[in-house]
Symmetry: C2
């Protein structure tokens, strides 16, 4: 018998490995921060003696969900201004609110609120883009959630930095201070083609290469953005990024609601990743990302919620469902983006986009033990013919019962073990009283 | 002091009356099956002495949700066959499964399962279309949920009836046996233009007029259906229905994903109702109902989940969210279908479509006490600037805490008072073992 830390017995295990859609009555053996085996329960019982052993007789176990694009701290603006046109929303609501309210405490409180929501809905890793990435990183580390913290760059002054050089320098400092951290990684996050200059983008490309980190950027979010870019630069933003050498396996192009045929070829041949944010794209009427076409061309598509201000939640289960449903409608093809593909978007594809697929995104020996348990013992998931279908089309976020990250049990039967929900809500309430009184 | 049965104190009340989007610190006074007052809590406390008094200090209270189109019993097929083209799905999966399995017990078990799910997600009234409507009606009555039971008519033999005459005769018998029932009403439910003859439709129109009940019908669900109709009859289905005198305030036209400009005018001027089923339309890639355009023309639009086999849930909160998001994407306008309009679709518009807006759909004196409480005291609905926004964009079905129908407390702090969830799940499991073993 081998002694290990944790043994989880699952009624169903969806490992997200090739060729194993769903394993019946299997167990996950975890030691320290890693998965040491995924084997039939009988075999697990005769092989391992575990300090902690838990039965999930009515549950599916799967890798934690990866939110490939969000602005966590913006949760404090959840529901502040809805049903408004994008530029009106940005220019008259969000940007003024940000310039008035965003500071270190705002980012700390907003990020903690977001992390609590993410853990409660099965997200174990998120790719963030916001001001004060040092605060975001610290909040994630304290909560025990994995984060790829975006080193934001934007060509106008904000409370975080005054010009591109300062954004980049402060970003590098954040990167350096979390180098080698087990939970925190970084990426460059130039905001969008229309807010970052060629010069800054060239610097970012070269630094990202040197530091071996990805680049996340809003690209082709709206048709309007493209019209303006063509007027100003004579070329569509994706071509400009291509000329600057940014369209590569290091790039996570977020949104991509406007894509021409030759651009799909460019994305596919370059190995660039697309982050699809269906609910935000719908809510802001940004356009439809042609997910089925991108998939067919072999492009790696990850999934993101975007910030709670334009969604208005950070629920990756719901986002998978929206993605799977919308892809069919947009492609006029009910076989587009089947449940299993939506599940890949929210797990292994996200890991691949972040360059972390050696460590997370599936349940495999040697990978980090980022695992979630989903309780299928509910009216809403009765009957059950196929757990993969239910995970995408029927489960609610409240059915996520347990979450482990790097082997640590961060949510135990719906209770967060490392965060104080009441105090997070209290802090958020105080912030919202100030913000809402305007 | 007036003595009444129940007094509900709400932190927020969203009555769905004109001009009252949200009332702070108000109370609902209920006596027997009716609402006797909606007044400020202070006033309620000094006016009423109630047998039961309950505080909802963190909750929004609103009228129960009205699911204007579903096939309740099909919940037993939830997740049985997904990601398949519509005609393949119908002809090779659903219709064979129905002809093999549907009987009185199937409809009873499936409907009870559906009712449990609907109550748990705040639905207090549903408009059903399925075989054995007598069983559906009895299941609804036993559970204490309001139902408009569709008297289905379809021009081919099924286990319920062998020809149009028998469908209609059996339908009338069901209608007669529930005449005057406080919870059960009926409507005619001819399946679709392509499955019901002119002669049957004329009979239905005249009977519906005589019996003073509405007509619910799938109309223009897909482009394919229209192409086939034009080939066969030389005209689009809606025009055929118009010629037959069916396009009137009595008609609930379900789906309407294909609508030309003159058809919008016809729908608007006739007073016909449209039932929008966004998630089913997406999942089956049936097309996009132009909700924003229909709204602008003044057409009354209600909301339905369709059956769980093509959704795969009966969650009207989720359906509202999908409707509000999708309408913006389709209209390319983020101001399309704001949260308050989505809420109307799921409440008062549904009541109006069913001809029941004198009795249900809003919280007003004299109306039936169909009320739901939604707990906003959660990470997912923090902070809260506007409860209407949260109800549509942020709440999960698990936040519905309590449900009253006709003054009876049918769900108390998430526990169904009139249904045995465990036995419903057990029955469904037995059915799914048989169905899934095929």
């Amino acid at each position: 018998m081998t002694t290990i830390d944790t043994l989880l017995h699952g009624r169903w295990i969806i490992p997200m490995t090739e060729g194993d859609p769903c394993l019946d009555h299997h167990s996950i053996a975890i030691h320290e921060d890693r998965i040491v085996a995924v084997v039939p329960t009988e075999q697990a019982n005769s092989t391992y003696r575990a300090a902690v052993e838990r039965d999930f007789n009515e549950h599916a176990l799967m890798p934690g969900l990866i939110n490939a694009h969000t602005h966590a701290a913006m949760s404090l603006f959840r529901g502040l201004s809805d049903d408004i046109a994008l530029m009106d929303w940005l220019q008259n609501h969000i940007w003024p609110a940000e310039s008035k309210w965003v500071n270190e405490d705002f980012v700390l409180c907003g990020t903690e609120l977001a992390i609590a929501e993410m853990l409660r809905s099965g997200t174990t890793c998120f790719n963030d883009m916001y001001f004060f990435p040092d605060i975001t990183a610290r909040a994630a580390k304290n909560a025990g959630i994995r984060a790829c913290v975006g080193l934001i760059v934007i060509d106008f002054p904000t409370v975080w930095a005054s010009d591109a050089t300062e954004y980049i320098d402060k970003g590098i400092a954040v990167h350096d201070s979390f180098r080698g951290d087990e939970l925190i990684t970084t990426c460059f996050s130039p905001h969008a083609p229309y807010t970052v200059s060629d010069q800054s983008l060239e610097t970012i490309r070269s630094l990202a290469h040197e530091m071996d980190i990805p680049i996340t950027m809003h690209v082709h979010e709206t048709a309007h953005e493209i019209v303006q870019a063509v007027e100003k630069t004579g070329t569509r933003p994706l071509y400009r990024l291509h000329e600057l050498g940014l369209v590569s396996p290091s790039l996570l192009a977020v949104h991509m609601t406007q894509v021409e045929h030759d651009e799909i070829e460019m994305l596919a041949s370059s190995g660039c990743h697309v982050v699809h944010c269906p609910e935000s794209n719908l809510k802001l009427a940004s356009g439809f990302c042609p997910v089925a076409e991108l998939y067919k061309s072999g492009i790696n598509i990850a999934l993101g919620t975007d910030g709670a201000a334009s969604n208005n939640d950070l629920d990756m289960l719901g986002e998978m469902r929206s993605a799977a449903l919308l892809a069919k409608g947009v492609a006029e093809d009910p076989t587009a983006l089947p449940a299993s593909s939506a599940l890949r978007m929210a797990t292994i594809n996200g890991a691949r986009a972040l360059g972390m697929d050696e460590r997370i995104g599936s349940l495999e020996i040697g990978k980090q033990a980022d695992v979630i348990a989903i309780n299928m013992d509910r009216i809403e998931t009765t009957p059950l013919y196929d757990p993969v279908s239910h995970l995408v089309y029927s489960c609610g976020r409240d059915q996520i019962s347990d979450v482990w990250i790097a082997g640590r049990h961060v949510m135990k039967n719906r209770v967060l073990t490392g965060l104080d929900e009441a105090s997070i809500r209290q802090q958020a309430l105080q912030w919202s009283r100030k913000i809402g009184s305007e």
